[in-house]
């Protein structure tokens, strides 16, 4: 049995040109800004929206195929859907909400399965309550139990953590992570939160205006975006343009001309010398060079001034201005205890290193200028 395979195309009302797949037992996160068509894609998988062209296949069963004239109704698709606002039935008790999809079974059997599901989503004991008597986190658990009641072949979650507070969100994420390990079906999670996606997902699929730009493991997508556009969408703050000066195959590097200085990155023969390229480096990969090592030449060492510091409990974010014209800005994320040990302060100077392996090259974006585009 294969997993979920989706290919959808339409011109409007929300344009779609999406293609991705999700194997059984894996969690795929669809990420993108609001209005990028994430929810529309979920609705297409559930059969609530019909795309103009495309194909949706789940577990070897074709649910939608515009060429073959197949369009299975939502009732016939074994799809578990958790809506963004949960869409619980306000006139039914928690137990009745969960057992409604099991109408075909005898009452005793129905109740047994329903109670089991409520136990599984850790909400046993609230069977008789109405949805409006529940907290946001409890409502989400009921919605999840209802979605699981159909024994779904695919589980769809539409921004399931957007309506709960920070503490509840953390707990629910942990529960979803453990649930996804035990469920043998593909799970598609829609979110605009990249942290959430990288915490929970096996695969991330980046969407922009209905188009799937890149699919891959979260680490791979975050560190090596396929294009400057993906880099912007995943909020890559250190995104620049440079000129490729040349390669040295035997020494394993390529050289970039960037803002009047040269940088060396890992050998990238795919780019022609003299061409414009985009490059990025994750803020966590920008390294601090301690005072005592200043004399030594680190990889791509740069002198900077600290413009801004955001000190969090675990991580500190620094905005650095490179010395000399044209005053390019670099973002750096480091553990707060490291920032404390080195007594970083706004206005102070800092020498940093950009490791060659952490510099990622991409085709130059069509737009002018090397800075991150305003969003």
């Amino acid at each position: 049995m294969s997993g979920l395979r989706v290919a959808l195309e339409q011109a409007g009302p929300i344009p779609l040109a999406a293609a991705f797949d999700c194997p059984r037992g894996q969690l795929l996160a669809l990420v993108g800004p609001s209005g990028s068509g994430k929810s529309t894609i979920l609705r297409c998988i559930a059969g609530l929206h019909r795309a103009q062209r495309g194909r949706v296949e789940c577990g070897g069963v074709v649910l939608f195929d515009s060429a073959g004239g197949v369009d299975v109704s939502p009732q016939q698709r074994r799809v578990g859907m958790v809506f963004q606002d949960y869409a619980l039935f306000p006139h039914l008790s928690v137990l009745d909400n969960v057992t409604l999809p099991l109408r075909a079974l005898p009452a005793a059997e129905r109740e047994r399965i329903g109670r089991g599901l409520l136990e599984r989503t850790r909400i046993a004991g609230l069977e008789a309550r109405r949805p409006h008597q529940l907290s946001g986190g409890e409502q989400q658990r009921v919605a999840l139990a209802r979605a699981l009641a159909r024994d779904p072949a695919v589980l769809l979650l539409d921004e399931p953590f957007s309506a709960v507070d920070q503490v509840t969100r953390h707990r629910l994420r942990l529960e979803l992570a453990s649930l996804s390990r035990t469920l043998e079906v593909p799970i598609v999670l829609v979110t605009h939160d990249l942290d959430e996606a990288s915490m929970l997902a096996d695969q991330v699929c980046v969407l922009h205006r209905g188009e799937t730009l890149q699919q891959g493991a979260p680490d791979a997508v975050l560190a090596r975006p396929a294009s400057a556009q993906v880099a912007r969408l995943i909020d890559m703050r250190n995104l620049f343009e440079a000129q490729l000066n040349g390669h040295s195959a035997e020494q394993g590097w390529s050289e970039l001309g960037w803002g009047g200085r040269t940088l060396r990155c890992a050998y990238a023969p795919g780019y022609d010398p003299g061409s414009r390229v985009a490059w990025c480096i994750s803020p966590t990969n920008v390294l601090l060079i301690p005072e005592r090592l200043r004399r030594e030449e680190g990889e791509n060492g740069l002198d900077t001034a600290i413009l801004d510091l955001l000190v969090g409990s675990a991580l500190t974010q620094a905005v650095l201005k490179c010395a000399g014209p044209p005053g390019l800005l670099l973002h750096m994320t480091l553990p707060t205890r490291v920032a404390r040990r080195h007594a970083l302060a706004v206005g102070g100077s800092l020498r940093i290193s950009l490791p060659r392996e952490a510099i990622h090259l991409m085709p130059a974006a069509a737009r002018e200028g090397g800075r991150r585009a305003p969003t």
Binding site: Q75, L100, H132, R150
Partner: protein, 229 residues
Amino acid sequence: MDWDAFSISLQLAAATTVILLLGSVWLARWLAWSSFPGRSLVEGVVALPLVLPPTVLGYYLLVAFSRDSLLGRVFETATGTTLAFSFSGLLLASLVYSLPFAVQPLLRAFEAIPPRLREAAWCSGLGGWATFWRVELPLAWPGVLSAAVLTFAHTLGEFGVVLMVGGNIPGSTRTLAISIYDRTQAFDDAAAGSMSLLLLGFALVTVSVVYAVERRRAQLPKAAGQVAP
């Protein structure tokens, strides 16, 4: 007290309410969930009896009931009687005249059901009928009750259209409202007074029930998604 007229009024109001509710539920659902060009026109036609003088409505109904019209001819061939000045004609007129009183509370009730809930029902495997019985109707029932009470009370109290279309035939088309008019003309104040008091009391009770139901509905949470305090 004209018990014949009372009985005619009750029969007319009951039949109108039952028939109108069955039809209006589908009309209101259709209006609530579909958008099409000319929707405003359909809504306008439904609301027309609210603003049209009963005599104008009665006049056009009489024209439609006449032997020269298709409706009148078809009915006469089928039943051998005319629609005008008959209980059937009166019933047909009441259906038209009370239409907005049935459709509008139902329309508001069905419009208030979030589309997500119907989609959640479909995703739970419920077909059209099951969704209607298990989700839509339980959520819309205060609207159904309002529609029933308003239609019944409005039909019981209608006068102008009944006079135009039904005339004043005892035991067939003379309703309570007509009878009150008749007794007043004949200076029979005792009968007119008792019948008026009956209608007044009934109207007060029904309108109070509608307000109570509306208030209960306003206190209920519209849908899940709101977090309990």
